[in-house]
């Protein structure tokens, strides 16, 4: 069996396996296989995924030399490559000069590229050449820190399923057109946009991730949305703008998403939704909404509280709720605690609610009333976890005692009080 042991183990495996192996190895190592043996000369050149990141950098201290070497490496790899390229990822803090990047993108646009991920430079914005808009088979596009200017004859990415733009400069009207011209779009991520007024029309959209300073967001045609995560940063002029806004933000944003399953709202989200929200008006129920996570909810603002209540009452199948309170406390002493008995009928139950997690709890009257409300109306509750904020230390024991005395609708509910480690 000696001859068996000496037999070349690897070279005769089918190309699909070799490709499978070579894409899991850093690209530099994959290229190095070309000097292993005759058969391996160009095996690396047929892989369909090229990932250039910090593993491709030569060592040294001179940034311009390292940058130059990287550019040469990428250029040579692309030209030695043979066959279609399905994925190209460039992830480095060095910014290749514009002509190089443009040529690479032009080359890729002719190679049936499907996934394009470009995240370069820490300070510079690169200008995406028009060839990026004419990659017909593109399914995944991730661009960071670039300027996008769709040409006038751009008809859209007909195969695009995943779009992620971070810190991208694009004319506001164009971003809406871009989104609506991608009929198969399933996942959209927009980060760090400034003062954006956005109407999203994406009939197949399933996952939406927004982060930035948004003036106005409207989900107009997104019937299949399953997951939403929104973080809205507020500056003073946006806050002003909000006050003057007309129409109900809640309806504009969550009015057309009946299939929603997960909702995550970061800072100011509830404040945003609270504008224009009228009490007692719940046209839409979210039958599939099982998981709600809200951050920085101000329990001192009745309007925000109303939003939270509206959300949970419209979600009969809600299973898990996580709320973190806003740390901004004012010194109002007036709390309308009658509100709870008066406006919320005793027969509203949260039939599927199992887990509630309250963080940054500071013992505000409405917070406590809210917990009491939940405990009393959740027949299948299993866990109520309360984590106090680090700023409140003296009232902790009293709060704990209060919580434990509340009536629980669910026999197996446990109330846990977790002290976050300092």
């Amino acid at each position: 069996m000696d001859t068996d042991l000496d037999r070349d183990l690897l070279s005769d495996l089918p190309q699909s396996i070799i490709e499978s192996i070579l894409v899991k190895v850093p690209l530099v190592d994959a290229v190095r296989t070309s000097i292993l043996s005759r058969k391996w000369r160009y095996k690396w050149a047929a892989i369909t995924e090229l990932v250039f990141n910090d593993t491709c950098l030569t060592s040294g201290h001179d940034k311009s030399i390292i940058s130059c070497n990287l550019v040469n490496f990428i250029t040579r790899c692309l030209f030695l490559h043979d066959g279609p390229i399905h994925k190209f990822e460039l992830n480095t803090s060095y910014s290749p000069a514009s002509p190089d990047l443009d040529q690479w993108l032009l080359f890729l646009s002719r190679k049936d590229i499907k996934e394009l991920i470009i995240d370069i430079g820490e300070d510079d914005w690169f200008r995406a050449p028009s060839c990026v808009f004419f990659c017909p088979k593109l399914t995944h596009l991730v661009l960071v820190r670039c300027e996008l200017n769709p040409p006038p004859n751009f008809k859209g990415f007909l195969c695009l399923k995943h779009l992620s733009l971070q810190q991208v400069i694009i004319p506001p009207h164009d971003i809406e057109v871009l989104i609506s011209s991608c009929p198969l779009l399933e996942s959209l991520t927009l980060s760090y946009f400034d003062s954006l007024e956005l109407t999203i029309r994406a009939p197949n959209l399933k996952y939406l991730n927004l982060e930035g300073e948004f003036k106005d967001i409207r989900l107009e045609n997104t019937p299949h949305l399953i997951g939403i995560s929104v973080a809205m940063y507020m500056t003073d002029d946006i806050a002003e703008h909000f006050e003057q806004c007309s129409g109900c933000n809640f309806d504009k944003f969550l009015g057309g998403v009946p299939c929603l399953e997960r909702l995550i709202g970061h800072i100011y989200f509830t404040k945003y939704l609270s504008i224009g929200n009228e009490q007692g008006n719940f046209p839409v129920t979210y039958q599939n909404l099982k998981f709600i996570e809200l951050y920085q909810v101000s329990f001192e603002d009745m309007k925000e509280l109303l939003v939270v209540l509206r959300l949970i009452v419209s979600s009969p199948n809600l299973e898990e709720l996580q709320i973190s309170s806003s740390s901004i406390t004012t010194t109002t002493d007036i709390y309308d605690l009658e509100f709870w008995e008066r406006d919320w009928p005793a027969d509203c139950t949260f039939g599927k609610l199992k887990i509630v997690h309250m963080t940054d709890f500071s013992g505000l009257p409405h917070e406590i009333a809210f917990i009491k409300f939940l405990l009393g109306h959740s027949p299948v509750l299993e866990q109520m976890i309360v984590a106090p904020t680090i700023y409140v230390t003296d009232k902790v024991v009293k709060m704990l005692i209060d919580l434990l005395t509340f009536r629980r609708a669910s026999p197996q509910a446990t109330v846990k009080f977790i002290q976050e480690p300092l």
Partner: protein, 359 residues
Amino acid sequence: MSGGPMAIVKPEMKSYIWLETADGSIQEVEEEVAMFCPVICRELLQNGKGSSKNCAISLPERVNPANLELILEFCRFHQVPGRSNKERKKHDEKFVRLDTKTLCDLASAADSLQLRPVVDLTSRALARVIEGKTPEEIRETFHLPDDLTEEEKLEPLRNMTDDPRIRLLNRLYARKRKELYDRKKLKNVDAEEEPRVDERSVDDLLSFINSGDQDSKGVRVTKNKKKSRGRKEQARNLSSNNEAGNYNKESNCHTSGCLNGDTNDGSSPSRNSKLQNSPSAMFSSKLDLDDFDIDDELDPARKEEIDREVEDFARRLDSVWPERIQQILSLGQETRRLRPISMNGNGSMKRCTAGVDLG
């Protein structure tokens, strides 16, 4: 599927199916375990095989009893629905702690059975083996032959300074040389090893200069696979390039020497080199395919390809050909014979320059 033809019905009421590996050994496996595998699933459902010992599902050739055992173990673990992701991951980590030979066999077998999870697992394990090792270590682990010449290994470095057009030219010349030599060989039945050895050393030298690895490789392959069948046809079809071929035989060293002398004062090699790299690489990979894979059937395709290459090459040369002519003219009188090639591709000069301008 269950019922009459079932050979064995175990007390737990599980159904079993029969699988046959390439070496003829038959074993029976729980149906639910085997169904995890798409190929087996398809055979069972569409072709109705596997229900008895006589019509056992015959598995693809690359599956032998040893790796079938491993595959079934994998399927047996994963087809149980209740396991957590963590458990599955732990099992998979342990599962791929195998020696490299077994890993390769397993990958091959899993691929033929279209069992994607096992292919991914084994690929990742093999990737971990390859990653970070020096070429010598990799060759040792996988028993790869170290069959590149020293010059070839250094090639990537050489690419930067050589003029790619000259390399292309020499590569094609070397090819014609090979064809002609083969033709000669056919006439001369008892071809000696001796002259060939000389020939090859010249080729080696040339390839050293030109980084045209295909030349030496091509000749070596001819030595190993003496297929005289297709050669006659090929050689005949190269009538259009015969002149160049003849020219080659006479003044090879001289020309290549001269042309190589020009590399250093190249007017715009750096500008064009990037563009030129791609056709040369393209050609070499095509040559690669030819030489190693379907040698016999490729003859008409090969002829076309050679014609295409020459045309392509000519087109690309066209852009700065007049310059080159001047230089070559001053060095020798044979240059005149080269003209026929360049005349072919005049029309696409515009395209070539346009391509150059991009850079």
